[in-house]
Amino acid sequence: MAQALAGQLLVGLINGSFYALLSLGLAIIFGLLNVVNFAHGAQYMMGAFAAWMGLTYLGISYWWALLLAPAAVGLLGVAVERLLLRRLYGLDNLYGLLLTFGLALVAEGLFHQAYGNSGNPYPVPELLRGGVRLGFMFLPLYRIWVVVVAIAVCGASWFVIERTALGAYLRAGTENPKLLQAFGVNVPLMFTITYGFGVALAAFAGVMAAPVYQVQPLMGSSIIIVVFAVVVIGGMGSILGSIVTGLGLGLVEGLTKYLYPEASSVVVFVVMAIVLLVRPAGLFGRER
């Protein structure tokens, strides 16, 4: 019994790691560009597909994919920002949401047309196969790797944003882009880089997810709706908030799967409703 519970909690922790990574990217993009990147899920899916296609067609290993897939999808993000998103700054921010929603549909439709509905398995890299026996449960190495990397990436992002000069520019741009530009900082370039980085982060999460979930075109849209709920619950104010909320909700989901499996797919939305009742601004949020 304890074994089943521990197993579900571990799965929850894995899901939570992806929620944390994805909500972090959303928060970084929203913070500076004031755009809710609806395409985040599609970009996550494209990261996973880039890894899978790299391995299948070109024999590119997992480790290279971890670097190349985010770079490729991130460059696509740069193009999107330069060609499309840029035209919408200064308008109501719902247009950014609608534009990226349209882009998500395009990406999802294209991959669906090419690869259908079925999942494509991606092998766990050799180095991370196997696991640790803990007596009460078996802990696969790759799962540990996912949790550790997710926390490390979130930590590194926190360090860059809060402790470096680049991060200081980013925070200044979030506060007041016009003033920052007056100081001679190339703010439009910063917007491009930030969007590209956020997209690359989504693609990175996609590569990490490839060996855990099946690689398939709809993997992004199903996760992004949950991530939005996570963002509503945690607020997009702080990075620590993203990590705590993401992992926490993953665990809540895992616990529900153990106690009352029928409710596991809706529990996040129920938590969202409760948080809205009790603390409308979100757990870590300040209303913008």
């Binding site: 919408l88 349209g102 882009l103």
Partner: protein, 315 residues
């Protein structure tokens, strides 16, 4: 020609087109257009007039369709009561979701409504009476007023047309009432509306509930005439589709959403054989309208008409 005359002519034209439509196109297609036109018009009350982007309106359409389907097929209720039951459930859902969602604004509002719609989607997938992946099929149309059998496509069409006109007229009245003007004031400047003494939350909630109720009416009518309720009615694709209809037709215009519904459904109908390319094209149309066609078809036409008939005064 005065603005009032233009409006009168637009009403006459709409009713005339509505009356002859089933003889010009396939009646089932015309019924589908009417239902989704009502759905988009109800959605537009929120987006176009109150400035609230709901990304979960499929929940109201779909829930009402399922409840009506169940009421007619499994509970054996008469048609009108079935439609009423579906609309009532959508209204209740709207009251609950609306009360929670209006606690946050802007993009959070969109994410919250999307989340609640997903909740409804999973409930519909899991509940025993909804038929899971198959949905509800073979819903009987029954008789209108207990007298007129709705089996023939033309009678069914006029049944929906009456429902559509009633809903559309109610929306039109709402938009032009003092209540509608307060909604616009909230859209333009919420703090100012608040400081003028309007209870902004109550206005938003009322608009949300009304929009949900009429979306429910659309869903119920759809279940009656198409004789099925399926998961695609509660899916988030449906919520996105209604945003596209409204945007493409012209948000904040009375006729826009209906025109948008007609265009989008015609497009989907023409492209039905192309599989997932439909999704790709829908997405591309979305991107194109956001980038360069934000006023929508009716918005553009309206401005053109105003310039040529009334002279200047483009709002």
């Amino acid at each position: 020609m005065s603005a009032r005359a233009i409006r009168t002519w637009a009403w006459i034209a709409m009713i005339a087109i509505g009356l002859v439509a089933p003889y010009l196109v396939y009646p089932v297609f015309a019924m589908n257009v009417l239902c989704l036109a009502l759905f988009a018009s109800a959605f537009n009350l929120l987006l176009g007039y109150a400035g609230l982007l709901s990304f979960g309106h499929a929940a109201f359409l779909g829930a009402a369709a399922y409840v009506t389907g169940w009421a007619l097929r499994d509970a054996g209720l008469p048609t009108e009561l079935g439609v009423l039951a579906g609309t009532a459930v959508a209204t209740a859902l709207g009251a609950v979701f609306g009360a929670l969602a209006i606690r946050r604004s802007g993009i959070y509002f969109a994410m919250i409504t999307l989340g609640f719609a997903q909740l409804v989607y999973f409930l519909v997938v899991q509940m025993p009476w909804t038929g899971g992946e198959d949905g509800l099929q073979g819903i009987p149309r029954g008789k209108a007023l207990g007298l007129i059998p709705l089996d023939r496509p033309y009678t069914a069409y006029y049944f929906v047309f009456v429902g559509f006109l009633a809903g559309f007229w109610l929306l039109h009245r709402t938009i032009r009432s003092p209540f509608g003007h307060v909604l616009r004031a909230i859209r333009e400047n919420e703090p100012r509306a608040l400081s003028l003494g309007y209870d902004v939350s109550r206005y938003k909630l009322l608009a949300f509930v009304l929009s949900a109720a009429l979306s429910g009416l659309a869903g119920s009518l759809k279940a009656v005439v198409l004789q099925f309720a399926s998961l695609s009615d509660v899916h988030w694709h449906r919520s996105g589709e209604v945003v596209l209809m409204t945007l493409l037709g012209g948000m904040g215009t009375v006729l826009g959403p209906s025109v948008g519904a007609l265009v989008v459904l015609t497009l989907e109908n023409q492209l039905a054989d192309l599989g997932s390319w439909v999704t790709v094209i829908t997405g591309a149309v979305f991107v194109a309208s956001v980038i360069s066609f934000r006023r929508g078809i009716v918005g553009e036409v309206r401005d053109m008409v105003r310039r040529s008939f009334i002279g200047g005064q483009v709002s």
